[in-house]
Amino acid sequence: MSTATTTATHDHSHHDHHAPSGVMRWLTTTNHKDIGTMYLTFALVMFLVGGTMILGVRAELFKPGLQLMKPEFFNQLIGVHALVMIFAALMPAATGFANWMLPLQLGAPDMALPRLNNWGFWLLPPAAILLTAPFTLALFGIGDGAVATGWTLYAPLSVQGGIGVDFAIFSVHLLGISSVLGSINIIVTIFNMRAPGMTLFKMPLFAWGWLITAFLLIATIPVLAGAVTMLLTDRHFGTHFFDAAGGGDPILFQHLFWFFGHPEVYILLLPVWGFIPHILSAFSRKPVYGYKAQVYSFWAIGILSVVVWAHHFFTVGMPVPALLYFMYSTMSISLPLAVLFFCWIATMWKGSMSFETPMLFATGWIILFGIGGLTGLVLADVAADAQYHHSYFVVAHFHYTLFAGGIMGIMAGVYFWLPKMTGYMYSEKLGKLHFWMTAIAFNMTFIPQFFLGLAGMPRRIPDYALQFAEFNMISSIAAFILGLSQLILVYNIVSCVRGKGEKAKDNPWEGAQGLEWTLPSPPPYHSFTEQPVVK
């Protein structure tokens, strides 16, 4: 033990003297905070890129008729928006937090596999470039633009598509490898690097959420990789996995895709479910309620998530027993989720609450994610799903789960940990402004879309019938407000990083618990050079 400490201290000074500077520092870094920072920065940049794409879409949908773009380009924007937001914004943001916070929360000096960690990150920028390069290539007359099949890449449309599909396939491969590497690192870190005395059931829930996410990623990413590889060989090497004429089946692709795609939803949400209870606990000045109940619910949801995939395509036509099985298994996800909601609210109950920005986001998150969850429960019904499926009702539903449940959760985390990571406080006034603008504009954007869907507007159409005009106009205006509000987030982050504002204390939040708050803000380059002991 004492030897280990000495070595670590030696390493520290050694590093300070010889660390490369400038670009090389970031290219070669194996430090979990540097890598976490790169993940988070990448996520923020891609969040803005993906957001800009969808504002183009909302501008086109502002009124009926084709105003700004051709349908081909519209289809590229919607698909790349989704891929960017899921793979390049939400997932890297969660991985960024894992990198930054897991060693701090577990009392470790760094992640278990630092070089793997570096590689995991540096696969992302090439993947993002691959995904978006066809837009630029098309400007020079090469190919016909990016992937235009929607993010789901359904065959045979994707077999028919242009080079954008090939770029997307290789991009998905890189993103997948990056996710699997990150997951391996997280699992190894959680199992091996915990401080003495920190048993699995004493870990912060964030570590539990990420542990299950990592297992889900390792289980499902290879299936996606297989599916897109089959697509690639169907496109170029004459195989017929998805072509009935050669004995294949287009629906096979949907099964493979959603075997990954449904767990993916929980991959995006579990890390958020992990840290939200700690935020609720901090600002309620009260311990997390039902820690074990939440861990068991995580496991239940993780397991259920891999057996419900076909509810994403009830309309393809399935035997009645299959329809019933997928309907009831999907509904049963609401059981552990109800326990989670109960625990979140019970954590707030009889607390001594104050509403700083992270708490505002966390509270808003419970309500809005609740809407996403409940509409999901309704969507499980096969008969009514014929109406909801691929209509704007679904678009609204999954934005309540992924924007509210995912991104607004991440924002709660950003405001919660920003003082810890940068050492400076953000402006509480601007943080609150950001929350209210985001929450109001988000609801104004997506509530009309529920009604559009019920009225019969399909998703992924560049132009629509006149009865949908008013709701689309409201939705488009609100989407622009929502998009512009995110500049406040950028400003808040940049001003913290540049050290404008108050110095942050080691624990800026009165009620925050956990090892990360025992270190200075910002923490030293190597987190725990001496292992803390957890009782």
């Binding site: 008729g65 084709l66 349908p71 081909e72 289809n75 190919g143 359904y154 449309l157 028919q160 009935a244 089946d249 287009p250 311990p287 309620y289 820690y291 109940a293 309309t315 393809v316 009645v320 019933l324 009831y328 509904m331 609401s334 059981l335 109800a338 326990v339 909601f341 609210i345 019970a346 707030m348 109950w349 009889k350 607390g351 609450m353 104050s354 509270t363 309500i367 809407i371 409940l374 429960l377 309704v378 019904d381 096969v382 008969a383 009514a384 014929a386 109406q387 009604f451 009225a455 019969g456 998703r459 159409i461 132009d463 629509y464 019938a465 009865q467 709701f471 106009m473 205006i477 009620g511």
Partner: protein, 389 residues
């Protein structure tokens, strides 16, 4: 100064929104159901929505109560319970679990079960069969049995491009109108069989409460029993390429008598059209008819000016295929010639012999060989096409 500007901006935004609200013809729920499935779906949806809203508002109410009362600035002292440790707390934690067990599998699960069974019962008591074939980006309908047996036609979007491009005012049924709606008798159980020629499409009419995918190489089925005469409109709802937003479904439901009258008239019309294949056409007639066929079927990809959208959709203007021979010296169709492409398709290009009659094919080929700057000068007679069938 800035404050005043901001106020004006907010006011004008609010007024803009208000004016939108004022003329809007908002729809808050599913459209009026026209079939037993749609009625059932609406009831299930309403019931589920009410359940979901009750759950939502009860939970929200508890949260809001807590948010207003358990605050630091009101001096509320935090409790320290972590639960669930006592029996009471365990019961509390399991209560939402049990409640949802009841809601999921009894309150929602039982009606949902009956709806699914009803929706999937396509065969019992079916009066007729309609085959629907989806293709980029139109629907083909074929009556498989009953009075209209054998009638087969393609239904295209009828909205003019000028309306889509905002060059002309938009009509009442903008994007939800077709040149030939499918006609179905009311109060008959119609078994709808679906397939596709290219990619996956979804045939959807909201008022029927059914949506089913049309999958290339496979047959899928659903059923409708329309209870009231009228026109019902829907759309494709599976992303199927650039024309996805432009392939509406229009169904005219009519009485049994009218259906028979329509079937007789349609059969006569189709007979006349195919009889046209036996007479000799003048080049002018072929070109003028070919232009109509082209604009309806081909222009969506190859564009009105024949310039195409390369590389996905090649240009016809100056095309080597079009400016080449069709028949070899023995009078045999040359592989990959202009006519071979039109009849049998290639890659994304559909096999038009299944969709167009001999006159249409002969006309459109003649039109293409003599337009967009192509000057082949020759013509193709419908009889020549007929001979290749």
């Amino acid at each position: 100064m800035v404050g005043k500007r901001l106020r004006i901006a907010v006011m004008s935004l609010a007024m803009g929104l208000w004016s939108v609200m004022a003329w809007a013809n908002y729809s808050w729920n599913f459209p009026t159901p026209a079939t037993p499935i749609a009625t059932d779906t609406l009831h299930v949806h309403n019931k589920f929505m009410i359940i979901a809203m009750i759950i939502f508002f009860v939970v929200l109410g508890i949260m809001i109560f807590s948010i207003f009362n358990h605050r630091k600035d009101k001096g509320f002292k935090a409790a320290t319970f972590t639960g669930p440790s006592t029996a009471k707390q365990v019961i509390w934690t399991l209560a939402p679990f049990a409640l949802l067990l009841y809601i999921d599998f009894i309150l929602m699960g039982i009606p949902a079960y009956h709806s699914v069974v009803m929706m999937e019962d396509t065969k019992n008591g079916a009066d007729m069969v309609l085959k629907v074939t989806g293709m980029q980006w139109r629907w083909q309908y074929e009556y498989m049995d009953g009075y209209a047996k054998g009638i087969k036609f393609v239904s295209n979007l009828a909205t003019p491009q000028d309306q889509i491009d905002n060059k002309a005012p938009k009509g009442e049924h903008y994007l939800l109108e077709v040149d030939e709606p499918v006609i179905l008798p009311v109060n008959k159980k119609v078994r709808v069989i679906l397939t596709s020629n290219d990619v996956i499409h979804t045939w959807w009419v909201p008022q029927f409460g059914v949506a089913r995918d049309a999958i290339p190489g496979f047959l899928r089925e659903t059923w409708v029993k329309i209870e009231q005469p009228g026109t019902y409109r829907g759309q494709c709802k599976e992303l199927c390429g650039k024309g996805h937003g432009f392939m509406p479904v229009v169904v005219n439901a009519v009485s049994e008598d009218e259906f028979k009258k329509w079937a007789d008239a349609k059969r006569a019309e189709l007979a006349t059209a195919s009889a046209g294949a036996d007479k000799t056409w003048s080049k002018e007639d072929l070109i003028s008819h070919g232009k109509e066929v082209y604009e309806k079927n081909c222009a969506v990809c190859h564009q009105l000016d024949g310039k195409g959208v390369p590389p996905a959709f090649p240009p016809l203007a100056g095309s080597k295929v079009i400016n080449g021979p069709i028949f070899d010296k023995d009078g045999k169709l040359i592989a990959n010639s202009h006519l071979d492409r039109v009849l049998n398709g290639k890659n994304v290009m559909p096999a038009w012999k299944a969709l167009l009659n001999d006159v249409d094919i002969a006309s459109v080929v003649t039109y293409e060989r003599n337009s967009f700057g192509n000057t082949m000068g020759d013509m193709l007679q419908p009889a020549q096409v007929k001979a290749l069938r």
